[in-house]
Symmetry: D2
């Protein structure tokens, strides 16, 4: 059994990760840690925990984590995660970082988008960007896997086949993304009070969301050209899920059939991407509590527009589920291990 | 006191209309009718109704409605509303139709989008399209006012200043619209069960919504050019409100300042359109239960994109409130009568 | 026109009060105050505010409030409200206090339930408990009206006729009350985060809620006997409304008919209490955004139990609406002024 | 591997059962059937289904079900389930019926509460009532297990220790139960439209719910005395969970300590009942998507009342989870198999 630890285990992604790992047949959880002086009861955060489970949240102790783990997941917030990952470097552990701290290859982008000087630029290069559908090979050999953001996962999977095949005008993309409130974490902020969220809906950080450079980096890599796009995230009055509605213009002469074919070919063998039948589009119910990205594609020969609807659970395929998928790839396990029954 | 009747009073728009008219200082409601054999109790639908109110929902009787009304509002469904309006023609009443039946000037569009042959094309010409911010003059003189759809109201108000001033590329528009479930009415449909809507979100009728020709008709009129656009409506798990996020590209050389100025100039004197300060964007809470359309504008000199966020309450500015605003204009009342205190 | 001010105007009850007073035909609002250094924009809190309204939230200045008001509403929190009310004493204003600070006649109860020594016990005696259905006469002559709590309003109205007529065993009462989250105010507390409230439901302060002594005081006064009861409040994942389900045992020999008759007689002439027909029980939709208390009564001759369902909007009949009703009574206005059309 | 089939697999309980069985290490699903002419796609109902899963919903064929199953779960509606179970009788299968059709021992109760003449009274006697915490022994030997209702599960577990130990007055019980809307199934009924449920709350079937005789039967059996109680169910605007707040009076002289001790002793060894610490009460979040019943107990020496808060997930411990727990007991599997990791 592979020994896994989760550092920063009390937030939404940490708990979701524990939930998935508890069902994983080939690993066991050794440490769940928190930096709070008095870590909360695990059962309060993970209600399905067995009455007799010995698992609990411990105060963070790096020595214990190192000794007791083969794989370490960092669910720490931005900057704290980088510090922790640096402390682990050269300790011969597989590290999967769910923060943004090792996603961007260009350190200058951290300055621009996060107002932060990256402390170890060499590690940025060696880290794999953990989106298996694009970078599976890099992930297989990486010691440090930078797990993608939730918006990037939904957005990139909805655009990659179009850009890889050169089917759309690269300056025509607009991404209208809507996320459940768990995407904003558990912080005590006025805008997350139920009186603000319930029966409400709004856009935020218009063309200014910190996930934009990450999306741009990968899309540009896929397209072999610099991609620009409009990106507007919105806050939905529900817990889980991201639905991104993506608008673009076909290149002249591109047929609708070719658009659909690109998606089908790209994702046919992917265990966690499902391309919907023509005329069928995913709702959030279709992906909540799963590691799937469901994609619906709208295109007509006589219309220059393409519309793609891409849906994920932000805490699963958009965070902790994808982290486990990455671990499975890295360790040579079946990619679905922990998500479905493998017999 | 002007005598008003509402035909088809038991649906969401009928009840919302009654709610507004009950507070209107210069009218009184004479008839609320339903075609159900046993009309429901009004108090069950309009909970704020006074214990002693004599108002009730009556079985529809055209003679009574004609005799007792100066203004007749039709909240009947598509096709039934047309029949009723035709029966009223030349009866010297002011008719405000909340259905789609007299909104489109080109009768062929009814064939294409509604699969319906329009029964009286002449009336299409004389009907005013009741969007006061664009057609106030026509409304002042009309006998028949076709009250706009909810999506068209939010979309057109968010685009008109840009198109009127020629500030954006006319083929670059994408409208991502999200509506509360009251927009779908009270029909007994599986997709409106709470188990389908709660904690869910989805796109529907992608580039196929029947409100598209209406939007296109008005935008083309405003732009003096044929406008095409992508339009994707979505269903929000909340009762009231439409938030449309609108994407376009500026024409070369257009400055951000000019974009904002166009909105400010267009709506400065409008009592029911509020342009937000730079960097401020409306949420649905900001417009629910009001007749306002709130608009936020995003533009930067160095970025070719424009993003407009336009928010309304679909039952008020998107339906019954706008109908009362139209009535006020037609009767020469202050436009805000019934919505705010006028002293 | 009577001049009204609201002190502590930015919370849920302050804003709801402004909403109602804006529609009231015989008053105008002169001051809305806040103790924040930079009071928020009124339009952000009260979205229906007219574009041109001169109303705004001012920093609190007692001199201005005194000079400009005939009626002062205090929406300040517990203890701060008492201080403010004491400062107003003998200034010849009508004061309506929405806090708990003058509701309890026995100062010792403040010690026990609020851990607070009441600063002016004499005023407790002269203050009227502002539940019109029970204390209308006292309210007519009072300078200081202590507006009841939300749970007490729903509970007392659901029990008073049974106790006044001696129809139930006085030691048999259990009150199971459920409130929307607006009852908890806008405080930045972890338990009010949307992640805690959404899709959740829980009991809290079992037999320990600070509204219990208030309920007991009034019920004992009505019953002319000391009343004890179980009281469990619960938090609903919705904004507005309290629904109290009340359980009791009939006294031996009491017929179901008599139970219903007691409610009908007690509330027949009350403008804001509606007793439902037999077999009909209120939902929260039936009372939200209204000043009504709707009551359904279950009793059968062959069953010893009585069940009463009592529903209100906690912000209207449970707070600000009742405050306006009290003002109307005090000033000799029609009791419904501000709530419904009076012609 | 034990072969399991689910008849009536498209409703909430059928799908939840499939979800749990898919994770169960010692069984596999052989048939999922529906009586619809064109059974829906399984993936639409069970979104986590693997892309390559061969599982699908088949049209019901009793022969196939019989041949391919060791255990048959009936999720058919009332009366149809009885017919199906009768058809299985003496076929040597283990049958677990999630309907109400074999829960009541006294056939007359079916007449009174369901208006239905039970077709095979002998089977009522031999069926085990599948509440493991009370009837584990009967379940171990039964061919037909009548899986309890959701309200009965929450209510009985919250009262049994008090009645078994004779700690409360048996005529003093009131049960105030609140359920998420999934308890009402997926029927196309006006009262389940999102416009009726969203932001609403109401009581229904006051003292008339068909689960009452089932509760009474078991409580009377536990207490060795006829138990009567008030029972009011309510509909919550959320998907999953039942929270029952239970009121009773202690017998004279009973200490609070004894009350708590009764719960601790009764459930100490139960894998799926968790008694909360003093002063701690469950919310629905604490039990959703788990097979736990969480119980909080309020008692004080100086107060004659006892309040018990009992919470379950209506689809898991209140239906399909309990059905799997019953199967585990019947087959001699560890009782937690399928719910938690057993190593």
């Amino acid at each position: 059994m592979i020994r896994c630890s989760i550092v920063g285990a009390t937030g939404y992604t940490g708990i979701e990760l524990a939930r998935i790992l508890l069902r994983h047949p080939r690993v066991r959880i050794t440490h769940l840690t928190s930096r709070q002086e008095e870590p909360p009861e695990l059962g309060k955060l993970l209600p399905e925990l067995s009455k007799k489970s010995p698992l609990k949240i411990e105060k963070f102790d790096i020595r214990k984590v190192l000794e007791g783990s083969d794989v370490v997941f960092s669910c720490l917030p931005h900057t704290e995660s980088a510090e922790f990952v640096l402390a682990l470097a050269s300790k011969n552990k597989i590290v999967i970082d769910l923060s943004a701290d090792f996603r961007l290859k260009d350190p200058k982008l951290y300055k621009t988008w996060y107002g932060w000087k990256h402390p170890r630029q060499a590690l940025l290069k060696s880290a794999a960007y953990g989106l298996p559908e694009i970078y599976r090979e890099e992930i297989q050999g990486a010691s440090l896997i930078a797990n993608p953001g939730c918006y990037p996962t939904a957005t990139i999977l909805g655009l990659a086949p179009l850009l890889a095949e050169g089917l759309i005008e690269t300056d025509s993309i607009a991404v209208d993304a809507k996320s459940g409130f768990s995407g904003a974490g558990k912080k005590l902020k006025a805008e997350l009070l139920t009186g603000e969220v319930n029966e409400n809906f709004k856009a935020y950080k218009i063309n200014q969301h910190q996930h934009m450079p990450e999306i741009q980096m990968v899309l540009s890599d896929v397209a072999k050209a610099k991609i620009q796009f409009a990106f507007v995230p919105h806050l939905l009055p529900l817990e889980r899920g991201i639905l991104a509605t993506i608008y673009a213009r076909k290149k002249a002469g591109v047929k609708a059939k070719k658009i659909r074919a690109a998606f089908l070919a790209a994702y046919e063998k992917e265990p966690f991407v499902r391309v919907r039948k023509e005329g069928d589009f995913p709702s959030l119910h279709a992906v909540q509590n799963t590691n799937f990205c469901d994609i619906g594609v709208w295109a007509e020969d006589k219309n220059s527009r393409v519309v793609v609807v891409s849906a994920i659970d932000n805490l699963v395929k958009g965070a902790s589920g994808q982290a486990v998928q990455n671990m499975n790839i890295r360790l040579g396990f079946p990619e679905q291990a922990g998500f479905e029954r493998l017999e």
